[in-house]
């Protein structure tokens, strides 16, 4: 065994020791799970039933979706959300209409329909489930938008 081989072996052993000791400490937000045990299956919560408009936590927050959107498709052919929330349909359906800001492209040019960058609703607007936050958070909305 020459010198470089010994060095490589030593490095490999050191790496092995480091990895095996580190393995107990690695924790993700989903919790840790060892390789020889099944991870605990999280309880899949149901969507909240239909409700009224939800309060926002900060002024620029995209409004939340107060209903389930299971099976709603948004692709290049169709957008299920717009069948109620578009300017053409909102009066008939009684839904909130999309904001006029959604008609501008990134150069602020106003288009005659929803701008492609604003087409995929669920990029910003999401429905809610009643779950425990993964990390502690003490954020509070400013007084002006706090619910009384």
């Amino acid at each position: 065994m020459n010198r470089s081989e010994i060095c490589a072996l030593a490095a490999a052993m050191l790496l092995l020791v480091t990895v095996s000791s580190a393995d107990d400490n690695v924790q993700s937000l989903r919790g840790d799970s060892s390789l020889d045990a099944d991870a605990q299956t999280p309880i899949i919560k149901r969507w909240e039933p239909d409700q009224d408009v939800m309060a926002r936590d900060f002024v620029q927050q995209p409004p939340l979706v107060p209903h389930s959107i299971d099976g709603y498709k948004i692709d290049k052919n169709s957008n299920k959300c717009l069948t109620c929330h578009s300017w053409a349909n909102y009066r008939e359906s009684g839904a909130t209409k999309i904001s006029q800001t959604h008609f501008s492209d990134r150069d602020e040019t106003v288009l005659d329909n929803v701008a492609p960058r604003r087409y995929f609703c669920t990029q910003c607007h999401v429905p809610q489930k009643d779950t425990k936050p993964l990390v502690e958070n003490s954020f509070e909305p400013v007084k002006a938008i706090q619910e009384r």
Binding site: D70, S78, K80
Partner: protein, 206 residues
């Protein structure tokens, strides 16, 4: 010569059918006729039901790669209670005479399968609007009969429905609308432009 022979034999067959049986008893003939009738009708019905299975429908790749794949993402394929509506539940009537008529019309689909009218996803996409309009038109004309095989208005409990559904159902039924008027694209992808301009798709002013 052969012509003369064939007319001769067909005439004698006709005579045989017209003349009373001198050999077999009326009972034997009745029982035989009865049994053969059951076998024939059973076989006919069995073959007809075979063409109503999902396996049969997706044996054509046009169905398998397009509409079937889309449907697998929807609630009619996979759901909480495990009740599945297969192709024929929505696209073939349950009543006998409507079913027979639909089966006869379906020969046109066979014809276009062999012509290769929609044999690539691109061709299918180009035809999607037209094909969808055919189905929507039929469903509108039959007051969504195939939907109502399972979804009966009289059995709907508004208390159990979500708020949006209650509102939309009461409004729709009051206006005399039928299922398909609102529930388009629930089992398959919608054609392009549906939400941009509804009138372009449904063919009526909106």
């Amino acid at each position: 010569m052969s012509d003369k022979n064939s007319t001769g034999s067909s005439r004698s067959l006709w005579q045989l059918l017209r003349s009373p049986s001198g050999k077999y008893s009326l009972g034997a003939l009745t029982v035989t006729g009865f049994v053969v009738g059951i076998l024939f009708w059973g076989g006919f019905n069995w073959a007809m039901e075979l063409t109503n299975t999902e396996t049969f429908c997706i044996s054509c790749h046009e169905m398998q790669v397009n509409v079937y794949e889309e449907y697998r993402d929807t609630v009619h394929y996979n759901n909480r209670t495990g009740v599945r509506a297969v192709c024929s539940d929505c696209h073939v009537p349950k009543e006998w005479h409507y079913k027979m008529l639909r089966k006869i019309v379906a020969t046109n689909e066979l014809f276009h399968h062999f012509l290769g009218t929609v044999d690539t996803p691109e061709k299918f996409e180009a035809k999607r609007l037209e094909l969808a309009q055919h189905v929507w038109k039929t469903m509108k004309e039959t007051n969504s009969r195939e939907c109502r095989n399972c979804h009966d208005y009289d059995s709907m409990d508004y208390v159990d429905q979500q708020r949006r559904a209650v509102k939309a159902h009461i409004k729709g039924f009051d206006k005399g609308e039928t299922c398909i008027d609102c529930h388009k694209g629930i089992a398959h992808s919608l054609p392009a432009m549906y939400t941009e301009d509804v009138s372009a798709v449904t063919g009526n002013e909106h």
